[in-house]
Amino acid sequence: MSSKNKKRKLSYSLAINEALHQMMSKDKSVFLIGQGVKSPWYVGNTTRGLIAKFGENRVIDTPVSENAITGAAVGAAIAGMRSIVVHPRLDFMIYGFDPIINQAANWYYMNGGKASVPVVIWGIINRGGEQGAQHSQALHAMFAHVPGLKVVMPATPYDAKGLMIAAIEDNNPVVFIDDRWLYSLEEAVPRERYSISIGKGVIRRKGTDLTIAAISYMAHEACKAGEELEKLGISAEIIDLRSVKPLDKEIILDSVQKTGRLIVADVGWKTGGISAEIAALVAESPIVLKSPIKRITLPDIPAPANGNLEKCYYPNKNDIIIEAQKLLRNKK
């Protein structure tokens, strides 16, 4: 492979697209179904070229029937397929809670391991732009709450490809949640097929003063905050969790053991959210903290439409920097 190829850059959305192309070529049992798979307006360019290559038999655009379509993806998986069902807005996926939670999540257990459900339930967070409360929600914590579901939230193009492939190859239901705010990000993405272990986080930046455990889009805000904090003399270790279920407990605990301080930066709400789970994980560990845990999340408020309100609603690197400075005020 030439060095040019090695450094081939790909956007986040095209990294997903490449994962879908590669898995559909590799395995005839893989198919994609969901509302808008024909339409870039719905799914960006994540499905580019799929119909031309694999046909409408395996790339199925659907009427607005999320409950039945999600159930169909689950049922097809029970019958031996590897299904991917896409919900271009996570909010609408709520219509599919029964097949996701009652059926897919429980199926393998309640049938004593006789039938598994290799389905990827792909939901896109599509927020901002004054879209309001029903076009904005990040619901990963709800899915992470349920035994039998895995939940992944890649923040980078490299991880988006690797986790989509891992999700398709997994023998269990995997909720794959991405974010339209990430779609245009570009980085070097290998051409070959590769997967990333579900349940493994990654350290984006080494540091010694505090740990910032971040999810999805907030991993980027955390990295930006980390750079600025460095200039302020604060050394932050940034963890991009990549999966929220199972959670990479080891990477969090090892880091907090070292730094003694923790900020959790999530893209979801505060109450009962993943940030609470991570805080509880550390609180229950024998680690003696140097300062209280801080959570940076959405407030417990529906997403507003108005642009000014949106600016206060969505946290960013500045919120992280402010909290980090507070935690390190008494740094010795």
């Binding site: 199925i60 039945a68 169909a72 029970i78 393998y108 309640m110 004593g112 006789k114 039998g148």
Partner: protein, 325 residues
Amino acid sequence: MIYSKSILRSIYYTLLQIRLCEESLIAPISNGEVKCPVHLCTGQEAVAAGVCAALSPTDYVFGNHRSHGHFLAHGGTIKELIAEVYCKETGCSRGRGGSMHLCKPATGMLGSAPIVAGTISLALGSALASAICQDKKVTVSFFGDGATGEGVLYESFNFAALKKLPIIFACENNLYSTHMSIRECRANGTIYKSGLPFSVPSFRVDGNDVLAVFAVAKKAALACRSGKGPVFIEFMTYRFRGHVGADDNVQGVHTDIRPKKEIAGWFKKDPIRRFERYLLNGVFGKAELLKIKEQVDAEINDAFNFALKSPCPQESDLGKYVFKK
């Protein structure tokens, strides 16, 4: 219509398996030996037996909460069923599911679940899988009249018709949605017509006439296999027992509010007695039928011995089967 002796014998055998199996559970339910909720299908046997007789052994079936009959009619054994009702490790779902979660993928019995209408979309999915793979399999989705109150049925009708999926929507109308008369649930009494606005060919059949059930299911399966798309069939039937348990003992008290006269009327339409009358009219002698019954009795006896002797799932295995490796 002339049927071969072997198919008639096989249908009778399935009917008896279901009936005798269900009735054998009355005592252990009543004395508390069986603890998990059991929804008996006594009285409705002809639907499962007739529909599944029309399927090939690799076709797919999804059931609901009342699925002992579907399981036995589509490849499940009495042994695996009774052991599961006792929640034993040797049950079809290894004691993790109980009576409401019966599954045997090897024979196409893909599963059953009590979320009303919850398996309809799953069946839509196995039919979709067959359409994608062009494997010529047919899926049957069994559900009750109560499930017609759930929106997913209509989404599924539409999508199945749109994509011409090989699925038979089989509604067992036993006239009651748990405690409630279907007349109190619906503005009209013509469930089968609900498929029509979605361009799903729809039929209503006497669900206590096993040969009529068999005939309509054969036609429907043929239509599915030849790419014509879904069929909806409403089978009129009645459960002889309550919604759950031996009678309608919701909350532990007898609450069967069904009129006594109505129940007595349906006893006269017992699908098994009716089929026996047909068989005794020149197909089999009494002795032959008795022999089949003795065979089923012996199977049930063995199944109870097997279930009672079987181990419970180990406590150390509590977390097994959450995820497949």
